[in-house]
């Protein structure tokens, strides 16, 4: 791990991503305290372009502060993105690990379940679930998680299968190590690198996912989020580009940061590249 971390730090793009991400997280955590403007409040004349008043990013059709929206809206976006990613990773790893480790009918059954979720288009599934249940941050995160764990499961399964054949796992088994010990202490740490990379990628996907749902009007209506801002101001794009473009850039940068980190991790964990 230390080795990988050094590799990671040598990758300029990845470090840039990390710095960006830390900045974004700080903004969403500390920003609302430093900039306590109500994102729903009408603070100025509607459609004020950026840089003309104290509201540096301008106002939207209602006179709401775009900067406040971006600062406050990140919380929901990031929270949903991160928790959805966690849900998908946990679910995917659990299912994939059992399938890959035990094989046989366990594998067959779990893979059928995975396949089932795989044929349901994730966004549509999320739309259905949110339509039938209420859109709150929790249901949205759960729904996104539920709709995107299959990739993780496949990866985890492949990794567990591959590692299960490795001699050091057989060595542990020859020592009478319990299944739980082998799965948790022997295989999992070795399966982590690709899973961490996938977790990073999934966080990006989940953020985009949340944004998509908010854009469609399926976000939590009482919470400000970047996708919500885009969806709400889309009608006015011809005359006011900023309430649409700026939150879009925020999403873009966040996902880009996550992708850069994921990419950097991928390279850092890749032994082929490490030897250079």
């Amino acid at each position: 791990m230390g080795e990988a971390w050094r590799m990671f730090l040598r990758n300029r793009a990845a470090v840039a991503g990390l710095v960006l991400m830390v900045g974004i997280v700080l903004m969403t955590l500390v920003g609302p305290l430093l900039y306590p403007v109500d994102p729903f409040g009408m603070v100025w004349a509607p459609f004020t372009p950026p840089l003309e008043t104290e509201y540096v990013l301008g106002t939207d059709y209602l006179g709401r502060d775009v900067l406040a929206g971006i600062v406050h809206g990140g919380t929901a976006t990031l929270a949903v993105g991160a928790s959805a990613a966690v849900i998908s990773i946990v679910l995917g790893v659990l299912i994939g690990a059992f399938a890959g480790y035990y094989g046989g009918w366990v594998d067959a059954t779990l893979m059928r379940v995975t396949e089932f979720f795989q044929v349901l288009p994730p966004l549509l599934l999320a739309m259905v679930l949110i339509t039938l249940f209420q859109p709150t941050l929790t249901t949205i995160a759960a729904t996104i998680g539920l709709a995107s764990w299959t990739g993780v499961a496949r990866l985890a399964r492949a990794e567990f299968m591959r590692l299960n054949q490795q001699e050091f796992v057989r060595a542990a088994r020859a020592l009478s190590a319990s299944n739980a010990r082998i799965m948790l202490r022997v295989i999992l740490p070795n399966a982590l690198p690709p899973l961490i990379v996938m977790a990073a990628m999934n966080t990006g996907v989940a953020i985009l996912f949340e944004a998509g749902l908010s854009f469609l009007g399926l976000g939590d209506p009482t919470t400000m989020s970047w996708g919500f801002m885009i969806g709400a101001s889309r009608e006015y794009i011809l005359d006011a580009w900023w309430p649409v473009t700026l939150p879009g850039i925020a999403i873009f940068l966040t996902v880009l940061a996550v992708s850069l980190i994921g990419d950097g991790l991928n390279d850092a964990f890749n032994p082929k590249l490490r030897e250079r």
Binding site: E115, L123, T131, A211, F252
Partner: protein, 328 residues
């Protein structure tokens, strides 16, 4: 022969099993959702009148035991009845039937675009891995992957429909003019450019990365060394020996991602007013029109399953190693 027959049989059973699972899932959703199933089905009616609710109850046999309801539901689906949209006042099958073709056109052209462009870019950058092109592609593909598709769509729309009016704004036809022949096809293609490209961007990014990695891998493999040792020129090495191997992961990925692509169509169709199933889904979501949404979910699953089977077939054609083996 018998082994082929058995494979076909197995596959059919597999597909039917999946479809059945989707149906049962749909059924359970309606019944597990909070509130009265009749209300859920009526959904769109707002203050649904008692008559409508009563009609729904008899129509769906909501007073029967659950398993009988399930059987009745499956029976109805068998006869092609996916339910009735009380909002659109039309059978769901009819609604979807009108919308499926545009969606398929959109999704397939985006897929083809993504696979072809993505692979070509990936191959070029793998061949010269240290060139500026390769670096630029790496950055661009990350960027393409990171932008929300609806946002890109909106920006492209403003850019190419309003600022530089190169492409039409919305829909699939311009409305005026005949609806047959070449000019019609050109009209549709003209309308298709922006939405298909928007939908494809993310996947172009992904496939170019994937094919780049696969190509780098393949180019370092022993059989490429063999091909070079035979004296083959670079063109032959790349396009005959390397490409066919490097495209395999792209095919796998395309198959796995077909359902994502299908879901992405919801956003793209919404932005571009493309008259497909995605926009229907969006409209029925706005109306909380459960029967339509569930119908769409089922139909999409069906399309995805068919697409997966086709990818599988395609993969088998491309890779002789798995040709004889059973299903993946």
């Amino acid at each position: 022969m018998t082994s082929i027959a058995r494979a076909v049989l197995y596959r059919t059973a597999h597909v039917l099993g999946l479809l059945l699972a989707v149906l049962v899932f749909n059924f359970l959703l309606i019944h597990l959702a909070p509130g009265d199933p009749a209300q859920v089905i009526a959904g769109d009616m707002g203050g649904a009148t008692p008559e409508v609710l009563a009609e729904i109850r008899t129509r769906f046999g909501l007073d029967l035991p659950l398993h009988e309801q399930l059987l009745a539901y499956l029976g109805r689906v068998l006869t092609g009845d996916l339910g009735y949209s009380f909002y659109f006042d039309r059978p769901v099958t009819a609604l979807i039937g009108q919308r499926i073709l545009p969606t398929l056109i959109l999704v397939l052209s985006a897929l083809v675009l993504a696979v072809v462009v993505g692979t070509v870019l990936g191959v070029i950058s793998a061949r010269w891995p240290r060139s500026w092109f390769s670096h630029a592609l790496t950055v661009l593909s990350l960027a393409g992957y990171s932008a929300p598709v609806f946002w890109t769509g909106i920006l492209l729309l403003i850019l190419f429909a309003s600022v530089w009016p190169l492409f039409p704004v919305t829909g699939m036809y311009s409305g005026i003019g005949d609806r047959t022949g070449i000019s019609y096809l050109i009209d549709v293609a003209h309308h298709l450019v922006l939405p298909a490209f928007t939908l494809a961007i993310v996947y172009i990014a992904q496939y170019s990365r994937l094919s780049r990695a696969a190509m780098l891998d393949v180019l370092g493999s022993d059989y490429i060394r063999t091909a070079r040792a035979k004296g083959l020129g670079e063109g032959k090495v790349i396009f005959k020996h390397a490409l066919r191997n490097a495209i395999l992961p792209v095919i796998t990925m395309a198959g796995l991602q077909f359902s994502n692509l299908f879901a992405g169509a919801v956003l793209v169709e919404t932005v571009f007013g493309w008259p497909g199933m995605g926009r229907l889904a969006f409209e029925s979501i706005l109306r909380r029109d459960a029967p339509t949404i569930l119908g769409i979910l089922f139909f999409s699953a069906l399309v995805v399953i068919v697409a997966n089977q086709l990818t599988d077939l395609f993969y088998r054609l491309a890779d002789p190693r798995i040709a004889g083996k059973g299903s993946r």
